[in-house]
Amino acid sequence: MPDTDTLPDFNRKKPFNPRRFATRVAVYSILIVVGLFTIMPLAVILLNSLRFNADILRESFIGWPTRITLENWDVAWSSACINASCTGVKPYFIASMLMVVPATLISTAIGLVNGFALTKWKMPFASVVFVAITIGVFLPPQVVLLPWAIALSWLGLSKSLAGLALVHIIQGTCFTTLFCRNYLVNLPDDLIKAARIDGAGFFRTFWKIVVPLSPPIIIVTIIWQFTFIWNEFLFAVTFSSSDFRPITAALMSLNADDTGVSEYGFGSAAVLIAAIPPLLIYFFGGRYFVRGLTQGAVK
């Protein structure tokens, strides 16, 4: 019998290796420099949102605040002027939310159903449909701009919240379908066969078996769709008007006031306000995002 009662010394130190140490130092130095460059723009904007505009203009665009104020945030939210209406970004923020949330949820739901039908149900021409959908992913958005304008006017949805949401739902379905298909393709076929023998049809199998197994990819898709649609600019500018304008389109007009003075202070605050929802999503969902992308359906 081996002697397992006396424990060996588990805390043995590895001998110092100068070459390894030097490599470490070099690698970390490079990472730190790259990291600083990456975080710099955000830091500058954040600091500027806390400075008086006069200070920014007088001192320099990049600089440490000499005096701190929260007024920029207040102005940006509720009284800054955009195209001569001085309401701040608040109504545009709300408009974006009302458009982005349903568009995200609906495109995610459609993507999941599509992914299931394409991989686990004997769907005719599944591979052709999948190729078509993948093409949609790689199609540059400029190409579909005009067709969408025509389609929306036919539908009577030109420059409306519902119209833009529709554009994003359909454009986004290409992405969500791709994501969900690639996730669900790993779902064991036997599960679906067992459900068929158990007498479950398409939607019952989907609802009782596929959806409960899909939270990782649902989270990934929601994060992706929400950030993409929220940040999207081209469609937002093209398919909006003074009645309905998402925040990305509104920000563009923020600086253009009649005095000709650049409003860096509340401009920075407005940009940050617009960036908060995607940042929060990443902050709380980022872990799931990485996990969902790397994880199969069932281990």
């Binding site: 599960l191 068929r196 479950a200």
Partner: protein, 369 residues
Amino acid sequence: MARLTIDSTWKKYGEFLALRDINLDIRDGEFVVLVGPSGCGKSTLLSIIAGLEETSYGTLTLGERDVTDLSAKDRNIAMVFQSYALYPTMTVRQNITFGMENRRVPKDAQKKVVADVARLLQIEPLLDRKPSQLSGGQRQRVAMGRALVRDPQLFLFDEPLSNLDAKLRVEMRTEIKKLHKRLGQTIVYVTHDQIEAMTLSDRIVVMNGGVVQQFADPDTIYREPANKFVAGFMGSPSMNFIDMEVEGRQNDIRLVYRSNGAELAIPLGRRHEELLPYVGGKVTIGARPEHFVLDSKQDGTLVPVSARVEVVEPTGPDTMLVFQVADLSLVAVLPANFRPAEDEVINLLLDLEHVCFFDPETTVRIPRI
């Protein structure tokens, strides 16, 4: 419980013929095992019986019904999968009741059936666990439970034991056999393990390349294999095959193998008549490892064979011997206490009474006379 008839059934995947002209008549309450090498179409046939795949040609009759065009849920069949296919997000209880929910069985009836099956399979303490919290053997039981609650006309098993370790596999094998004895259901069971096939079945279907090679009871399959494929596939270690010349004349026929001056000659004695038509030609002789013996106490026609020992492999209950005759390498299974040295030349006796002869052209077994 029901009888299952599979009539001239074919299956095509694109241009690939996965099943060719399958004809099986499975009796009520019979335990039939489909066995064959990987890719021979066992799962395909099972899927067709289950209604998960459509036939390309042919008809299926279950009980009194023609089920060829019925979907899986209307066939009254239960299936246990190799992967168990338990629904990972449901508890054991939900796994078992899912089918009943779909068929809108009243809750009270569900409760009773679950309780009965849980008791039968001794999974009562597991009912509220998730599949991921179960061991392999427990999952296997749950999968069987899910099949049992249906009270189906037919049970299908697709390699249900192949994910278990060796010890558990033997235990579950016995349990399945007991369960069948007790419930008397008709079972079609797929395996690639010929020992499972031999031990479990009333009758065995040996398949190869989408074709049924033989459908018979285990003893017949083992002793009177229809052809060389069946003979080689069933039995472990495999049957030894030697292509030999048939020489001599009536009542005095010998099989001879010659190679580089070495020679193996087997006088046929009592079995000369079957090979009479082959004199001047060749046959393949098939000898199982246990057809080689050490002593001549047994009756039968024993032919001495001088063998040079190559490898000695004690398996516990027996000694497996790889030996050389002429330039052939053959395998024998001998009593455990027999431990010759390597390269030793020993005398073995070949029991001619039980060996098989195959036509070398068609590979079909030459019938005994």
